[in-house]
């Protein structure tokens, strides 16, 4: 027996006497595996969890940064407004009340007489 593929062993090769054998064999294997290959192609098209997270990450991070910037701006703006127009304790106590929460006679610079004071209190 030489080092070349042994001619005697060729009889064990189904393609030796049937030239189309290996082509049919290949076709049968590809037919058997076609469903599995299709399943793998389908899986490949579906998004993975990491891909979904990455997609959200791209939208969420800029949106969160924008919201934080807006909130910060509004906060500073509110503080500035409070500093320029301070409210007295009386104004805070009567804020939102209808009518005349503090009688005019009490706000007057002149001290009311006794009768007027009683009339206001009884009212």
């Amino acid at each position: 027996m030489s080092n070349e593929p042994n001619r005697l062993l060729e009889v064990l090769d189904p393609g030796h006497t049937d030239p189309g054998y290996w082509s049919r064999f290949h076709g049968r294997v590809m037919s058997v595996v076609s469903a599995e290959l299709a399943r793998r192609r389908l899986l490949e098209q579906e998004l993975t969890v990491s891909q979904v997270v990455q997609a959200w990450w791209r939208v969420l991070v800029p949106a969160a940064a924008l919201a934080a910037a807006l909130a910060g701006g509004l906060l500073f703006e509110g503080r500035a407004a409070m500093e320029t127009a301070p409210l007295g304790i009386e104004e805070l106590l009567v804020a939102g009340l209808e009518g005349e929460p503090i009688p005019a006679v009490l706000i007057s610079e002149e001290a009311p007489d006794e009768a007027t004071m009683f009339a206001v209190i009884e009212r």
Partner: protein, 194 residues
């Protein structure tokens, strides 16, 4: 199989994982004869070897994520083939003590096989059945498929020297076993051809 084709194997495996039909088709074409030879070395019958080899490609694709070294896909596939063929033998409840039935006649002869070829085939199968399985694999991959010692060593996970040794003893045993009544006919045939 060179380093280039091993690299190709890794790329083909990567594409096959994603369901690339063409890539897996190349792998099938590259290894189908070797897969058949290994299955035949284990089982010894054409029909069963054919079934085992075909099924092995499906099993290999289904479990291709377990192929940790895609550049060694061939070795991994042949291991799958060998295991599949052994399972097939077990399923058929062939007793472990029985000799591997390489000499058993196929239930359906291969097409266009003439009587002389059939006779040679049976003698060869009988001779092969007397060899250890690893020697059958080595001699079939080398002398039938034309693989080099190094390729067989890589695919079967054996040292190259061991492959050479197996091949030497396998050929010697085959030569001895075939040196029967057929050897004269073959010698005559060869003489007539020359």
């Amino acid at each position: 199989m060179s380093a280039r084709s091993q690299t190709d194997d890794a790329d083909l495996v990567r594409r096959a994982k994603a369901g690339d039909r063409e890539a897996f088709g190349v792998l099938v074409g590259r290894y189908m004869k070797a897969a058949y030879s290994v299955a035949l070395a284990v089982i010894g019958r054409h029909e069963d070897a054919e079934d085992a080899a075909q099924e092995s490609f499906l099993v290999a694709l289904q479990h291709i994520e377990e192929c940790r070294n895609p550049e060694r896909f061939g070795a991994w596939l042949l291991t799958t083939v060998r295991n599949r063929a052994k399972n097939l033998l077990r399923r058929e409840s062939i007793r472990a003590s029985d000799p591997i039935p390489l000499d058993a006649r196929s239930s359906g002869p291969l097409p266009d096989r003439d009587a002389e070829s059939e006779e040679v085939l049976q003698s060869l199968k009988q001779a092969l059945s007397g060899l250890p399985q690893v020697q059958r694999e080595v001699v079939l991959l080398h002398d039938l498929q034309g693989w080099k010692h190094r390729e067989i060593a890589e695919r079967l996970g054996l040292p190259e020297g061991t492959v050479r040794s197996h091949l030497h003893f396998a050929r010697k045993a085959l030569r001895t076993a075939l040196a029967g009544p057929h050897s004269e006919d073959r010698a005559g045939d060869q003489g007539r051809r020359q």
